[in-house]
């Protein structure tokens, strides 16, 4: 294995090679300050407004895939081997507007215009995949884009009409697909990349084994997968991350395999990459999945990162715990398997040794007799952190509840199970009264906190009501949930 110190990527129409890239250098600052590509805007520097949205094309299993991402929290070093497309690249050489731009103009989709380039890029990413999107698909694609002027109606009108102005097959990125694929393939030399000054070191391991070795050797390093959390450490808190080991590019952490009655999901699989698998194999999570952050963050954030950072309000742990997920932890060449619920010890403390990392998640699929649900409550429906998140798996045999796994997020210092409420269910008949009892018992399981997302009282009341919702939803007699789109 060889190594190099250059980050190499394509920026719009040209190759870029940067010899000395700091770990903390963001793509947005590079675009605006180094390249004066000022069409990409900074609105929040935390991945929550979408004004900095750009497309990043990368090879996934050899196939070129373009995704909308937030340039503000995307580290420049992670673009090695990628194609970065900014709004400046959309206009034709003759100055003609791109179909997305034309639609936004025709439908009056801009007012102050500051969020507009970001919307254009998100809609572009959508249009390449779905040339004739529904309004609901548009809403999902722009979950990560804030507009304060228009109220969104004209943007949605524009988005569903883009194909009136052109087709993806005639689009620049489609036409140049083969050439870009070839160029990116050529950039993949299997090298480890080590770059940046000594106090701001960025390392991109060559493969998973290289990563395991590196991390064992530098256990104090910051491991960065999607950077959707670490990005904020840098942009908001000036936290040093050097040496940073970037692992978002490692294909070896992106495998998804069916293994009998369970799925084995690589820790580096992004929410977006897992989306179709969830839809097919874990349908009760489908709606929940599309409410994790916004599209740009789902394109970057990984399931392993969501677990490894140990947040009490991560979206995936409660629902994965409820399903009985396990994590595979690896240090060097050693691996161990742990029930996910045992991984979270206390606030900021996980069962993870120095140099050990989350390599894989094993997710048992639903069995006969199991009833599942996943619920997220947040102040705003989309792109918000949950006040309460819950995953339930209740097994019913002959009308009797034989097993119950009720896991909650946002209710304690860690995502965890509600043992008293579970005990109230197990052995009882599947009946409203059992769930009433469980809702009462739940008060003994948690002492939630009050903060800006929700008060302790609300968290407690809503969590208890989710048990009631679960029962009635399973019964299917009355509508208990607001219809989606």
């Amino acid at each position: 294995m060889h190594s190099r110190n250059e980050i190499r990527f394509l920026l719009n129409g040209a190759p870029v090679a940067l010899p000395d890239v700091s770990a903390a250098q963001t793509l947005l600052d590079f675009l605006r300050l180094n390249r004066r590509l000022t069409g990409t805007k900074e609105g929040c520097a935390e991945g929550d407004c979408g004004a900095c949205t750009v497309l990043v094309g990368r090879l996934a299993g050899g196939v070129l895939r373009y995704e909308a991402v937030n340039a503000c929290i995307r580290f420049l070093a992670t673009l090695d081997g990628c194609h970065v497309v900014t709004v400046e690249h959309l206009r034709g050489p003759d100055g003609a507007l791109h179909p997305v731009q034309q639609a936004m103009v025709e439908f009056h989709g801009s007012q102050c215009g500051f969020c507009t380039p970001g919307f254009v890029m998100s809609l572009y990413a959508l249009w390449m995949e779905r040339p004739e999107p529904t309004a609901g698909e548009v809403e999902t694609a722009i979950q990560g884009n804030l507009c304060r002027c228009t109220g969104y109606a004209p943007i949605i009108r524009a988005a569903v009409a883009i194909s009136r102005y052109g087709t993806p097959t005639a689009d620049l990125l489609t036409r140049e697909r083969a050439a870009v694929t070839e160029a990116l393939t050529a950039l993949r030399d299997g090298a480890r990349v080590e770059t940046g000054p000594a106090d701001n070191r960025a390392i991109l391991p060559a493969d998973v084994d290289d990563f395991a070795e590196l991390y064992a050797a530098y256990p104090q390093a910051t491991v960065v997968a999607g950077a959707t959390d670490v990005g904020l450490w840098v942009t908001k808190f000036f936290k040093p991350i050097s040496p940073a080991i970037f692992i978002g590019h490692l294909e070896g952490l992106k495998r998804i395999d069916r293994d009998g009655d369970s799925l084995r999901i690589g820790a580096g699989v992004s929410y977006s990459e897992l989306g179709p698998v969830i839809a097919e194999h874990v349908p009760h999570l489908a709606d929940y999945w599309s409410r994790i952050a916004g599209w740009q963050v789902r394109n970057m954030g990984t399931i392993g990162g969501n677990i490894a950072n140990g947040s009490p309000i991560g979206d995936t742990p409660p629902v994965l715990i409820a399903m009985g997920a396990e994590v595979v932890l690896r240090r060097g060449a050693e691996r161990r398997v742990l029930p996910l619920e045992a991984f979270f010890i206390d606030y900021g403390k996980q069962d993870r040794a120095q140099g050990e990392f989350v390599e894989e998640i094993r997710l048992p699929l639903s069995q006969a007799g199991e009833r599942h649900a996943a619920y997220k409550i947040s102040k705003r429906r989309d792109e918000d952190i949950s006040s309460v998140a819950a995953g339930f798996r209740v097994t019913v045999q002959d009308g009797i509840i034989s097993d119950a796994r009720l896991a909650f997020g946002g209710m304690a210092a860690t995502p965890r199970r509600a043992v008293a409420a579970e005990a109230a269910l197990v052995g009882q008949a599947w009946h409203e009264t059992a769930f009433e009892a469980a809702a009462v018992a739940l008060a003994g399981d948690f002492t939630p906190l009050t903060d800006w997302r929700a008060s302790a009282e609300y968290r407690a009341a809503a969590a208890a009501n989710l048990l009631r919702r679960f029962f009635h939803e399973q019964e299917g007699q009355a509508p208990v949930r607001l219809a989606v789109a």
């Binding site: 605006r32 590509l37 000022t38 069409g39 805007k41 609105g43 929040c44 520097a45 935390e46 929550d48 407004c49 004004a51 709004v87 959309l90 507007l97 997305v100 731009q101 103009v105 025709e106 009056h108 989709g109 801009s110 007012q111 102050c112 215009g113 500051f114 969020c115 507009t116 380039p117 999902t140 979950q143 804030l146 507009c147 002027c149 109220g151 969104y152 109606a153 000036f238 409550i377 102040k379 705003r380 429906r381 989309d382 006040s387 903060d451 800006w452 008060s455 609300y458 009341a461 809503a462 009501n465 989710l466 009631r468 919702r469 009355a478 509508p479 208990v480 949930r481 607001l482 789109a485």
Partner: protein, 776 residues
């Protein structure tokens, strides 16, 4: 007299036509230049604010040595570095220092600025200050402030009409209640930013994202201790304003200018989003105590209201904002006997400021709460109560400030919306649905808006413009208004195109600059098109008059025989191109430049007496919203909204519709998910989009029908008989709050007003449901 005549049918970009935003193509291509996109001259430095991490304290010492020693730092600015006045109070009250010298009055207050080679270096260095302070007790909200004996930050206002005591004594019903209504962050996508470039002598040019360039200019001059003629402030466009850049840019403009002059280098300052939200003011939150008396029919007999506002540590614009809350506490309703009082409370929080509606929405929401109270108390449909209380003919047409309402169109407007939204049938269906649905409940509400148009500070109701017609026939348009997305420049250009009867493509829209039009008012109070459109028309008419006089003279025809046709001019029997006429006029030494001016007629206001005609006219609107509520979690969804809004004879219907749609969503956000949350230590904890949740696309109504009242014509002689549009539709969002209220009320058979405070987050909705279930 030969020339190309491009069209003789109609000009492109006429008034009353749908014309896209002048910058639309630049927006979508990323070529629209905002302040941070301006190419920086070599040697540009970057400033950043160092802020307080305590809420209320006396400063013992402020040690900036570590800041100065940080990598890349050029120096620091404190109060001691201010050559002029250490004051940026926009109302001349001298209560807002740029940097405090001895007292910290809120958490996040700017204390100093650091200037460095890069923004990153300045940001990092700003964290390094060491401070010794003596903590003082703090009061964060108006009630705490009242309890602690804090003063009014500015003079309160009282509006009174009729005999309140008798009104209450004679009425059969009376309800008192309290409404808490939260504030709102502007969350303009482009944050505050200023970029100052020093010039010779005292001169400095400041590129600033501001709605009020003249104030930024005057404030920079005040702080630098130089005459206003040394300072130029420019703004081509803002990435949103909403009132947040009416006075809040002053700090940034002054810091950039101070640093630029001190180090004689260009200096840019741009706070990050957290600092922007922590250090700049927002919409005022209010605690409103109301007392309303009414009869069996739901007719209001008497109203008393006290409006206590969280104003923050300085007065800023809190005086006129709290005044406007009272001006709109009647909304659309006649109060036979009324007394309204404002309590602008000083608090240890950021100084609250202008925000779309300027206090008006808080007044309107109180009026609508009283209507709800009456409806629930009497078991009536709130719409019926509304109609019973609308302003009417003489005897029922006087506002609490003694202005006669002469242009009321609500009966027709609301009637049309009630019909087009199918309100009655849907309300019946919802009542039926709620009776059968155990967990999901629905609600519907139709709420009106009447909003007074004009600055209540009468002297602000003036505007200027500057038009040059160059000898090639191209037109340069400048005026004192600022572009923040609302399409003002497009509308004003339409007015000028219409005046000259030329295609709008001939008109160059230019940045707003204090060099071209002096002493301008803020682009605020919805007045941008009203004032600047008129001022531009005045300039265009002056030039036209000179052209007419010249043509009549040269070609020996009667002036009445000089007629401006689309892209041509008819002089007697001859038709020539506009260019040809201009060229000929130039050759004959005709002055082809004019400064225009306008002041709103017929308005006056006596604040001490609480009487006058503060508003030139009213804009009206109505919205009908239907919601679904999950009574297990408090989550909700807006199923449908129908809007009928009055913009008079629209200058540009498509832009106006965009304003109405956007304002509705912003108003809905204010009342639903946008929550400002301070912890007990006084720290604002919702200070970025990760924690402060403005509406997303998926929060918009599932069905959203927005229409303009096409039949409406402003009876006053406004620009082309149009009406202002910026603020009035913001209050259409109240229909969502009230629809939520109805859904909540259903759990107690609509016998009790849920008194849903705002913002009605899912939490507040669930807690209201639980409270009503407990009361049942």
């Amino acid at each position: 007299m030969k020339d190309q005549i491009t069209s003789t049918e109609a000009i492109r970009g006429a008034v009353h036509s749908d014309l896209r935003h002048d910058s639309a193509i630049k927006h979508v291509t990323g070529r629209a230049e905002y302040c941070d996109d301006i190419a920086e001259p070599a040697g540009t430095l970057h400033a950043y604010l160092g802020t307080s991490d305590v809420t209320h304290a006396r400063i013992r010492s402020l040690d900036l040595s570590a800041v100065r020693a940080a990598p890349g730092v050029i120096g620091v600015l404190t109060a001691a570095d201010i050559p002029g006045a250490n004051d940026i109070s926009p109302t001349g009250r001298n209560d807002e220092p740029v940097f405090p010298t001895d007292l910290i009055e809120f958490h996040g207050q700017p204390l100093f600025a650091v200037v460095a080679e890069s923004r990153d270096a300045a940001r990092r260095a700003a964290e390094l200050a060491q401070m010794e302070v003596e903590d003082l007790p703090h009061a964060l909200d108006p009630l705490q402030a009242q309890a602690a004996g804090y003063p009014h930050i500015t003079d309160p206002l009282k509006l009174e009409r009729g005999d309140v005591a008798t009104g209450f004594a004679e009425a059969p019903h009376r309800i008192t209640g309290r409404l808490n209504v939260g504030g709102q962050d502007h969350m303009y996508l482009e944050g505050q930013i200023s970029f100052a470039i020093p010039g010779e002598d005292d001169d400095v040019v400041v590129h600033c994202s501001t709605q009020h360039p003249s104030e930024a200019q005057h404030m920079v001059a005040h702080v630098l201790g130089v005459p206003s003629n040394a300072v130029t402030v420019n703004v081509r466009r803002m990435g949103g304003g909403f009132g947040g850049k009416e006075s809040q840019m002053n700090l940034f403009a002054c810091v950039a200018a101070l640093a630029a002059k001190k180090w004689d280098r260009p200096v840019k300052i741009r706070p990050d989003r957290d600092q922007d939200m922590s250090a700049t003011g927002k919409r005022h939150d209010f605690v409103i105590d109301y007392d309303v008396a009414f009869d069996e029919a739901g007719c209001i007999q008497a109203v008393e209201g006290e409006f206590a506002a969280r104003c923050g540590w300085s007065s800023d614009l809190s005086g006129p904002v709290t005044d406007r809350a009272l001006f709109h506490a009647d909304n659309a309703y006649f109060y036979p006997h009324v007394r309204l009082t404002s309590r602008p409370m000083k608090t240890n929080t950021v100084s609250n400021t202008a925000f779309r509606g300027f206090g008006g929405p808080q007044g309107v929401v109180a009026a609508e709460r009283m209507i709800e109270e009456i409806a629930f108390a009497l078991g009536k449909d709130p719409l019926e109560v509304r109609k019973a209380n609308f302003y009417g003919p003489e005897g029922r047409d006087l506002t609490p400030y003694h202005q006669q309402v002469t242009d009321n169109i609500l009966e027709r407007l609301v009637g049309e919306l009630e019909k087009s939204a199918d309100y009655q049938a849907r309300r019946k269906a919802i009542l039926k649905f709620n009776a059968q649905s155990r967990f999901l409940k629905r609600g519907i509400a139709l709420t009106p808006v009447k909003f007074g148009i004009s600055f209540t500070a009468t002297h602000y109701n003036q505007a200027g413009s500057l038009i040059h017609v160059y000898s090639d026939g191209s037109i340069h348009l400048n005026h004192g208004g600022t572009e923040m997305g609302q399409g003002l420049n497009t509308k004003v250009a339409q007015v000028v195109a219409d005046a000259f009867q030329v295609d709008i493509t001939r008109i160059k829209i230019t940045r707003t600059t204090t060099e071209k039009v002096p002493n301008t008012s803020a682009t605020a109070a919805s007045s941008g098109s009203d004032l600047n459109g008129m001022a531009a028309l005045d300039a265009a008419e002056q030039i036209k008059a000179r052209l007419v006089e010249f043509a009549a003279d040269k070609w020996e025809v009667d002036p009445a025989a000089v007629i401006f046709l689309p892209n041509a001019v008819k002089v007697g029997n001859e038709v020539m191109g506009f260019d040809a006429l201009v060229k000929a006029a130039y050759m004959a030494r005709v002055h082809l430049s004019a400064a225009g001016f306008y002041k709103t007629p017929d308005i006056y206001w006596d604040r001490a007496a609480g009487r006058g005609r503060p508003f030139y006219y009213y804009a009206y609107g109505a919205s009908c919203s239907e919601v679904s509520v999950d009574t297990l979690t408090g989550e909700y969804r807006v199923e449908r909204t129908d809007i009928l809004h009055d913009v008079g004879r629209s200058l540009n219907p498509v832009l106006d519709k965009g304003q109405v749609e956007g304002a509705f969503i912003q108003g809905m956000g204010w009342l639903t998910t946008e929550e400002l949350w301070w912890d007990k230590q006084g720290r604002l904890r919702t200070h970025a989009p990760s924690t402060y949740k403005i509406p997303l696309a998926s929060d918009a109504p599932r069905i959203f029908n927005v229409g303009l009242a096409e039949w409406s014509v402003n009876p006053e002689r406004t620009i082309k008989r149009s009406k202002a549009v910026g603020e009035p539709p913001f209050m259409l969002g109240i229909s969502v709050l009230e629809a939520l209220s109805m859904a909540v009320a259903s759990v107690a058979d609509y016998r009790e007003c849920p008194r849903l405070d705002a913002p009605a987050t899912p939490e507040r909705v669930l807690m209201a449901v639980e409270r009503l279930r407990g009361d049942k």
